[in-house]
Symmetry: C2
Subunit: 667 residues, 2 copies
């Protein structure tokens, strides 16, 4: 059962601050640039996208005007348009922009025209089926039809939520009905089928919650229920058809989480993005129908990820082979895959679990994944992106050795497979939904983001903070009911903390680190009324994190964190070599002047400053080992004292190619 | 120029001792078992070999009696027979055995009958060309014709050296002449061709040195000279033919060391076994023709391997992708490939360099590779073999995670691709050739092996030692000339050492660790005469080895060694968990009673004791970290004092599946 919900997108209006800066970067740089890509008008993009042209061509073909130059791109190319529209939808609610809205409306018109009469919508199939052969729904394993549909449904929900415009929502309700007919009322084989890439499940749940459309709910439940009932379904599908996209044989049932019925899945396995998208849908359904087995599976999968397979950065999916989860405790720093999209999916999953159980276990990891892997996935100027987020970079090995080809030392430009950049854009733009939640009488503050929040339950508050670069958060209650409660998360990393309530009418109080009666599972619940000012002070002390010895790759290592940030050392702040450094964990870590580390390029090509020139560098006391002349030596290495300069992980790789390292040996 | 040569195989007669025990194991277990495999009569071998049947079928086909069931196996299947014959040849000189010799003679007759009229010999091509299409020499990239020829030439040399029987040598001289015609006198395209898998070069040099056949020398030189002159040669070859073995496209020129003319190659790259076989041939040719550029390339390649790409165990070729060298300093312990054959090839290469320059730099690594990776490649009972020799095993990850599939926690039975087992057999059986060298007046002792050595230069000595399980070696001069010199290697690992000469006629003396005038590049040169007794005492103190910080994988780690042995900790001696251990390098390492570690199975299936029940276990003082309940923790891990039990690396994986680790964090 849901205890609380994400707030509506329009409920959150950001003030100045870290999150607003990022949202503005997305609005000013990422969204316009991505539109140029979709439209094939970006100057510096070497990869043709053809996304919008695909929709135009499909519309023309349906209107009998010929299919032009046909379809171009990946089989899931349509989803790029969907994710862009979703980001635009979210962004418009924060930064109204008539011009942008007009552009989006025009794209929605183009998309609507590409929908077939029965509601079917997928330009790859519409354009490629013009050879008289109907390939629709014959290759769920590779075809991504339901994946693309899911993303367009999410776009429709976001666009409606922000603009009140229903056109895309209508298109996608019709599309859902088309899918319903095929998979709920079609052949027995279709009734046993499930998506090759989960996504439509969580999207259908969104549609259902927004529109009340029962078929959307039934369809989401159906796809979740049938998944893995017949693990050989994809293999059978392969045998039934005479075409393929990549030649997949459907035999690796783990890859698609088809190895077991979902309620029996306890270990997160296979393609990491597929996995967390599925688990998000499962958790959403579980709370809707109060399904104990499904809830239990979700919690087991969460534990499998976060207690045995997650990097300190909130990165998941440690192997590039299949972009997948490996096995428990196999978490190499240097060959890590850690796809940006996988951490975004982990945030989705955490957010759904948090709706069922308010517990900082979920919100801590949501925050950790966001401030490290997700933000690290984007260059500070918003122009380049990482798919892969390793925890160690040694130029010469990274990006070069066969086993390290995927671990790049610098963010590349837009990819042919452009899943991560728009995924970051939509998450950043909808940050408010993850930061705040609500139910009938309570306002939940899961993450810290400055802004005004008008909860649907009548509570209104203003949040002032320079978090994550200050550790004080002030909530001013502008409206509240008689039973209103403010629930504030105390992050697990904050050893010391205090909450002070200043009230004109009722008693003021101060809570602090010691267990207080009003603290449950990492949240402090405070009765509030209009005029109250609640001040949260968190612990700004940098702290060391030690790995379980069960992770073979991290034997004897330690990492530095502060607040939600994991820190790293880069070569250019440390004499070019971070491999010979080790930490003295007995000495205090100190803030250092940013001028002590190499400056970020403050002038980006368009003259704008990058989003984070405000990072705080930290100094760790430690040692530098003298590099011996031979590869191995019997002489114990000489060490000299060294001040090690550290920067937040999300800023790495923004200052040219150089070494980067998070985990260090220590005393 | 050669300063000294390997001794003749018949010069060394082993006494009791470690090496003799291994040679006996090869004779009693490996050679008979491998013959059963070749003959398809092994009970427990699931893989069909068909090696001997291939030769029989080819002989019948040539005699017009039909080709029976044709060819079966890998394209290089013939080489299994060659390596077996070579091992048998070497073994017969140590352990004469009429029955075995008869079996070998019969196999040689079968092989001789499979030779075509013009000298061509390769059953894959002879049997597959019966379709009227002549594929001979059209696929050097994949075909392994020259590789198989090379191994059969090596077998012919070994068999002749030990038995004096010339039949196979005649066959292979005729074969060499056939190859000469094709590649020295054939088409321009053939004149530009070179082997896909180097091996024939070193084999031709052996043939030349044994028979004086000039064509063998010219051919070896030719193949080395043309290699990489046209790096696209293999690609062109692909385009010229209409068949393939595995579909290789010849574009990865590094894989075959075809990326540059060999004299310009400075970095060891590509398939590791191919690389070291090539470099061995290059070094052999270089000393024969005193070619400064070739010598310089060989030394650069040696440095590239041993100073930037070699594991502490003497393992090389760190990645399973292409069984290849990776890039400098990329030496992961857990995903290491380290093929047994590659370390054997490294020993070949070292031995050739040692012939040009007597320097313990070469012999130290020869010894390290032998006592760790090569011996570790074989189960103690001689019945199972590793191809891949990782430096860390964590069951659950090793052999299971996609990236660790090749790193098995236990030696499997015979492989379909059976290159490593017979390679170990031939190296162990010819150990004397690597241990001892000679020139006109000097006897060289590179490695320590008990036995009687009758050098061709007239020196005879008896070597008594229990090395590597004792550190005293006694040489008794039984014959010597007037200018005779004994050159003894002082291993680099031996910090303390002494040499005592007891002589009846001339002055006795004692040298020790301090630089002495008669010590050059790690060898002590001692004038000797008949009756002298030279006693070498080496340092038995266990020692720690520290890696260069340039190896990212070993950050802050240390390993334990003693003499030539690298030590490892296995789970079953250490409470099941070696991942939470760290070393206290300030405390002395002590010998411990073998009863303190779990016993090896002393009763193997045939009732024989395994070769090493005599290993010495060592105790390292250190700590065990308490395993926290969470994957990451801010609490500094609690540590308790622990006695860590270590065994020599070559004995690992002989007592069931459990953890194994060489490198540990330390204070």
């Amino acid at each position: 059962m849901k205890l609380q919900n994400q707030i509506n997108q329009k409920s959150f209006s950001p003030n100045e601050g870290f999150i607003k800066n990022y949202q503005q970067l997305v609005k000013e740089v990422v969204i316009p640039y991505q539109y140029q890509v979709l439209n094939d008008s970006a100057q510096d993009n070497s990869e043709k996208s053809h996304v919008i042209q695909n929709f135009i061509n499909a519309g023309n073909a349906l209107a009998g005007k010929g299919k032009g130059d046909g379809f171009y791109g990946m089989v899931f190319q349509d989803s790029d348009a969907a994710k862009w529209l979703e980001a635009v939808g979210f962004s418009l609610s924060i930064f109204p922009d008539k011009e942008l809205e007009k552009t989006a409306d025009a794209l929605i018109d183009i998309i609507a025209a590409a929908q077939e009469e029965d509601g079917y919508l997928d330009t790859y199939f519409t354009l490629n089926d013009n050879d008289g052969k109907n390939r629709r729904w014959t290759n769920l394993l590779e075809g991504h039809e339901l994946y693309c549909a899911g993303h367009m449904m999410e776009a429709a929900c976001a666009y409606y939520e922000s603009t009140g415009k229903k056109k895309l929502l209508d298109v996608m309700e019709k599309n859902a009905e088309c899918i319903y007919k095929v998979f709920m009322e079609g052949s027995q084989f279709n009734k046993e089928a499930y998506p090759g890439h989960p996504e439509v499940e969580l999207a259908l749940m969104k549609m259902y919650r927004l529109t009340g459309n029962k078929h959307c709910f039934e369809l989401a439940k159906h796809f979740i229920d049938v998944r893995g009932l017949d693990p050989q379904h994809f293999e059978k599908e392969c045998n039934q058809r005479d075409w393929t996209v990549w030649g997949s044989d459907g035999k690796d049932t783990f890859y698609n989480q088809a190895h077991l019925p979902v309620r029996q899945q306890k270990d997160a396995r296979g393609h990491a993005v597929r996995a967390v998208y599925l688990y998000t849908g499962m958790a959403d359904l579980a709370s809707a129908i109060d399904d104990a087995d499904l809830i239990s599976a979700c919690k087991d999968l969460w534990k499998s990820i976060t207690q045995r397979q997650m990097y300190i950065t909130g990165g998941i999916g440690s192997t590039n082979l299949g972009e997948a989860f490996s096995v428990d405790y196999d978490l190499p720093s240097d060959t890590a895959y850690c796809e940006t999209c996988a951490s975004i999916g982990l945030i989705f999953f955490a957010s759904r679990l948090l709706e069922m159980e308010v517990n900082n276990e979920y919100s801590d990891i949501m925050e950790r994944a966001f401030y490290n892997t997700v933000l690290g996935g984007m260059q500070l100027d918003g122009k380049r992106f990482f798919y892969v987020n390793p925890l160690e970079i040694v130029p010469g090995i990274a990006g070069t050795a066969q086993t390290h080809r995927h671990d790049l030392p610098q963010r590349p430009t837009w990819y042919a497979c452009a899943c991560c950049p728009p995924n970051v854009a939509r998450l950043v733009s909808s940050f408010g939904k993850y930061a705040y939640g609500e139910n009938a009488d309570t306002a939940y503050c899961h993450l810290f983001a400055a802004g005004k929040i008008d909860f649907a339950n009548g509570i209104s508050l203003n949040c002032e903070t320079e978090y994550p670069y200050s550790y004080t958060v002030k909530y001013s209650l502008e409206k509240a009911g008689s039973d209103s409660v403010l629930a504030i998360r105390i992050p697990g990393w904050s050893k010391e903390w205090s909450i002070e309530k200043a009230s004109s009418s009722s008693a003021s109080f101060t809570s602090s680190g010691a267990a207080t009666s009003n603290q449950v599972k990492g949240y402090v619940y405070i009765p509030v009324e209009k005029g109250d000012v609640i001040t949260l002070k968190l612990d700004s002390t940098p702290y060391f994190v030690y790995p379980s010895p069960k992770i073979p790759d991290l034997s004897g290592q330690v990492a530095l964190c502060r607040g939600p940030f994991v820190y790293c050392a880069e070569g250019l702040d440390n004499g070019g070599d971070v491999l010979s450094l080790s930490f003295d964990v007995s000495k205090p870590v100190t803030e250092i002047d940013s001028s002590k580390v190499t400056a970020f390029n403050s002038a980006t090509p368009d003259g704008k400053k990058p989003v984070s020139d405000q990072y705080f560098a930290l100094n760790v006391c430690g040692w530098r080992e003298k590099i011996p002349e031979t590869l191995y030596t019997t002489d114990k290495p000489e060490k000299s004292l060294e001040n090690i300069k550290m920067v937040p992980y999300y800023t790495w790789g923004n200052r040219g190619i150089n070494q980067m390292k998070i985990w260090f040996p220590h005393n």
